[in-house]
Each structure stands twice: as C-alpha cells, then as structure tokens.
Symmetry: C2
Subunit: 132 residues, 2 copies
C-alpha cells in the first residue's frame, strides 16, 4: 500500500464562487471524515483535502491518495507542478524529464519510501507505482 | 507541540534557473534529512520540503513546521492561498475573513487538532497558536 499527499497548482476551469461555496462548508475539517472516491478503480482511494471547485480555493489542490499494492497511476502529464509527500509505503516513480522536448528520452526510475518527497515539473510525463 | 504541513503558492521574486539548480539536488529526498532552520526563534523548527528558489520549482512551496507549546506564528497575511494539514498537536487558528474590506471585523477562532485541515484565502489575516 502506498499513501501519498499531493499538492498541485490547479487552475479552475469552472468558475468557482468563493463566498457562496464557502458558506456551505466549514473551514476546519477532519481529514478522516472527508469523503473518499475511487473513480471506478477498486485499487485506489482518493480524498480531496482541498480543491478548487469544492472549496472555492483558486490556486492549490491538496489530495490524499492510497494505492493498493501493485497498482499505479496512469502515465500522465499536466500543465502544473506537483509535489508528493510519501506518508506510508514504498514504490517507484518513473519520470521523463524535459518531456517538452521532441525526444524526451527514457524515463528515469526512483525508489519511493516513507517520508520521502519529490516534485514533478510542468509537463514532465510521470507514473507512480505502489510496490506489489 | 504543533506540527503542520503547509502548501502555498509562492511566486518567486528571485529568478530561479530551473535546470542549473536541479542539477545540484537529487530529485528524491528524505524529509528527515532535510536541513531545518528556526530563523532566530528557539520555539520554531522550519523545513522547506520544496521551495521556489532552492529547488527551481516555480508555483508551489511546501513546508513542515514545528511549533513549541505556547508559541505561535505572527499575525500575518500574504498574496497567496495557504493550505494547512495538522500532523500532530493541537492549537488555535485566528482568522479574519475578508481582510481586504475596509473593516474586516474581529478574527474568528477555530480549534486545530491532529488530522485537521484548513486553508487561508488570499490576504486574509491569520495567526496559528500551539496549545500551551
């Protein structure tokens, strides 16, 4: 099992009304009581600790994600930076630096361990694996 | 003692050269081995998990901060959003919403507890206390 805390800048594509949405949510929240979703994947548990549309926040999203042993994120990239803090478990990060180049080359492989941290630059293709 | 994880968007005032700085730091780092600083305050321990100038990251900073019992942040505000995750300890958040108004009113008081989370909107004056 791999538990990660993710912070990323996420520009809203939906216009979030700060005041009206805030009024429906309490400011102080217990992470243990926040709703989880697996988006149709039984090997994933995702919690949005704070999010742009739900909470009216405009600049940052913070997620808590739990990956079952042997599962992974898809290979993906995005137009924002992403910071990872590993809360629990071990795994592998595959990162292709300079993915904006025409020939980004092969992904580099990094071991992920508890209390480790790393970040993914804008548009760098990456994938995170939970150790089987 | 209050241990908090802070994520905030922090526009660099110093031009950070992404490639040249990255080359001097390993991408995967152990948070336990990162250098700490107290900025002249014996009641504070601050670790920059990832930062704009040090690591060449441009959008987000993530900090780990440890406040001794009875200590606090100054009352302050800033032109970015800030997300808090409470790792350990209890305390109080004082937050003055709508500080951009001419008369922002009195600060609201919130209890901080382990595994709680909150965020501070842009420019809202706030102060975090560690329980004595």
């Amino acid at each position: 099992m791999l538990v990660i805390l993710v912070a990323l800048l996420w520009f809203t594509t939906v216009e979030a009304s700060h005041c009206s949405i805030m009024a429906r949510l309490s400011l102080m929240r217990n992470i243990s009581e926040l709703s989880q979703n697996n988006y149709g994947r039984p090997d994933l548990s995702h919690t949005t600790i704070v999010g742009s549309v739900l909470h009216g926040i405009k600049e940052i999203e913070v997620w808590l994600q739990n990956f079952a042993p042997g599962s992974s994120t898809p290979i993906h990239r995005h137009s924002c930076e992403e910071v990872f803090v590993i809360v629990k478990g071990q795994g592998t990060l595959y990162l292709t630096p300079s993915s904006h180049s025409k020939y980004p080359g092969n992904p580099q492989e990094f071991h992920i361990f508890p209390n480790s941290t790393f970040y993914v630059p804008v548009n760098d293709a990456h994938q995170v694996y939970s150790l089987p």
